[in-house]
Symmetry: C2
Amino acid sequence: MITGKNYIGNQLSAIGSKTYTTFNPKLNIENKHTFFEASKEEIEKAVVLASEAFEVFRKVSGAKKAEFLNAIADEILALDDLLIETYRSETGLPEGRAKGERGRTIGQLRTFADLVAEGSWVEASIDTADLDRSPIPKQDIRKMLVPLGPVVVFGASNFPLAYSTAGGDTAAAFAAGCPVIVKSHPMHAGTGELVSAAIIKAATKTGMPNGVFSNLNSSGIEVGVQLVEHPAVKAVGFTGSIRGGRALFDLASKRPEPIPVFAEMGSINPVVLLPEATITKGVDLAKTYAKSITLGAGQFCTNPGLLIGIKGEALTNFITTLSEEIVKIEPSCMLHPNIIGNFERNKTNALQQSGLSVTAELDSDVAVNYARQTVTTVEGKTFLENTTLHQEVFGPFSMVVQCQDIEQLETIINTLEGQLTGTIIAENEEALQYNTVIDALQNRVGRIIFNGVPTGVEVCPSMLHGGPYPASTDSRFTAVGIHSIKRWVRPFSYQSWPNNLLPDELKNENPLGISRLVNGKHTDSKI
Amino acid sequence: MITGKNYIGNQLSAIGSKTYTTFNPKLNIENKHTFFEASKEEIEKAVVLASEAFEVFRKVSGAKKAEFLNAIADEILALDDLLIETYRSETGLPEGRAKGERGRTIGQLRTFADLVAEGSWVEASIDTADLDRSPIPKQDIRKMLVPLGPVVVFGASNFPLAYSTAGGDTAAAFAAGCPVIVKSHPMHAGTGELVSAAIIKAATKTGMPNGVFSNLNSSGIEVGVQLVEHPAVKAVGFTGSIRGGRALFDLASKRPEPIPVFAEMGSINPVVLLPEATITKGVDLAKTYAKSITLGAGQFCTNPGLLIGIKGEALTNFITTLSEEIVKIEPSCMLHPNIIGNFERNKTNALQQSGLSVTAELDSDVAVNYARQTVTTVEGKTFLENTTLHQEVFGPFSMVVQCQDIEQLETIINTLEGQLTGTIIAENEEALQYNTVIDALQNRVGRIIFNGVPTGVEVCPSMLHGGPYPASTDSRFTAVGIHSIKRWVRPFSYQSWPNNLLPDELKNENPLGISRLVNGKHTDSKI
């Protein structure tokens, strides 16, 4: 069922000459399928089809879009074992993770289906006319959210399902009414093609226009560059490295017509241990953190890479327990030789920095492509002086910074770059006492956690997955949850527009029965 | 009362050596006050103060922010005739316009005061915990909008009050909890200083932190560049030319930490005359448009600079009436010799283009700095071939494009850049018939008007003032109305946070009584 071809709208296509394969990191062998990188002509055709599809798709009703999204979920489930096996062969991840991520992907699609079927997400707002108003008559003005146009989604290496082909970016863009062109991640091109086939089947079954979706294979940067520079592309979604996300942001900003890039990038997710809690909760927390740091071989964007506390007996105990516990955990296979290669290189680079010492590193033999979890520690002063130590080491690696005092701890927080998450380990009373520490952390993150771990991103309306740069390129939006739809829409106003020509969302009679802001009051009544 | 100095927080300051004056275009003389351009040290100090103020201001309650905003409105009113006279001496605009714009400015401040006093604007969202959930416990997650940090606002030449010192950008930023540094517009530095004094008085009276507002004089680009490049500045608001807005956007995008720039820039606001309506409504409309084109000497960003119809008797009649009517209108004084200089230069450049003919130009003598309103016409084919004709001529100038047929008209719409507004003149039936024309226009604008004029931007929740590039740099936001607050905020999530440490907006007991999304349902109840 895997052909290695691109989907240019509904058509499989392989006119380019460049090919590549995916890799099974667990078996340490190449997988059998050959993938054809999208050619310039294929990219152009996909974008033109998406533009044409937009004119139809942007008017498709919420009910029909919900059918489409639910059909994608059904078709993904119908792929059954083939999908799970392909996923595993391209990632080395265990079955439970594969099925869990599939469940999350399905859940996201159905959540957006429910959102658009209900319809109030368009934030309809109506101010009725007052033509007798003096000195100037008041015109009837009505506003709602409308889709931006074709969106390009870059698949993420670490989430082949939930943040890739039919992941959160794609589900949100379809829900908004935007056609999607996926730049498939080369490490899991087979998984990507299977999911693409599911999307195409769903689009055909539910009568969506040809071009509402395309899937382009690519092993280098050329396909992505051509897509982001194309005038008909109106927005970009990306999950990956700071280097990659920034490059796309720069390309998009330099276009004659700049377009928004929503890139969710790196983060070391600082965890702050306040003194009292380090005494009372330290040992228990150390066990929890040993698990959090190694979860999924540390290949989560919310992996806690930095723990900051005040030097002393309690922090020493924490480090000792964390170090003892973490080496008890079974090592796991990383996604790809490139990923473990980067992990080893970045870890070695960190370990070469003066003043950093290793407190735990798995020393038993591990299979090829399996990562050795590592815990290090450093003095606050050393950390402050050397920003190389602030860089993410993507994988099961964490650094404990031992500060001289709370002032140094606060200074360290104030020097950190933007982060997806920050965690405070505290007793309730000391959280009040150290409120400036919490304030400092809050200014630098998108989500703040109390006495927990940052891993595990709940998909719910209150989730903010994003944060100040470089956690993301635009902290005003989230990449997870229903509000992530706002990345792909713009508000649009109709003035003095005849009722019969208005979209249903704005008609007097409120045929969709949605909640609207009418003359400043929320209501689902008709006018 | 005008000192010519900068406000660096609460302090008047003039340590720089560069000075300039403002100009009275009606009297054609320099005004008497000398303004001191902000020095590098003053700029640095203003930004540092703003950063410090942010740590206090971002926690100020909605009720206190409302007091501050209302106090600004009161202090502006208390400036009374001095403000109106200064405004007039720096713009040449009539008293009615000055008072009207003051009313609008006051109205905006009070609207934002009401918004933050009520409090639901933070979009509070709460998903309560389900710690028994299997396989993974669900954590308590709560989200609300929080301010971005210090915002820089560039005053607009054409709205010294409503889009400048205490205009929409500033009011929205204060409401959000962001300190504001205004880069004062050099053409109305005196008006700017008076309004700044009002803001400072209001800030002091209502106990706002020093640095919540600064006003920097500047006659060149240096002050703006230093501000936008400063790492502590977190967002930028701008109203003005495409060249200016794009330059700021480029600077902000190239920063190590890119920041959002919301620039509301140029627009020619196309008006499409459909054939039937040109017959039935043409003559009446021509009279209305003669007024809209000359309103405020054409110095509105929503001025209709382009009218597009189908060649024929009805369009000829429209042009004839428009041309007859427009020259009957009293000419008006433009804002500044530079503005009328640009108007004359851009008009001359347009008139030199082959195929453009003048159908009306006021030929009586006019006073110095008064603009001669002008109507021109061109064939659709010529317009399509020469993009110089698509450029805005800021002032009382409009061009009527006579198309061969409806296909050519649609092609023209599809070649236009992004616009603030588009207008359709149509009979209800033909609007249905020509729906692809309306669709094409809709893709290019932020607001679409039926049988009206684009001038007159109602301040109400349903207003969208913005649009696809280059109408604005980010079509996902509006510059007018309560939702313009969204430019200066980001969502922020608290996970497992103790109830007593949460901001009031997210506490279980809902002490502010605001509307919140609790487990997916909107409610103002406590939990």
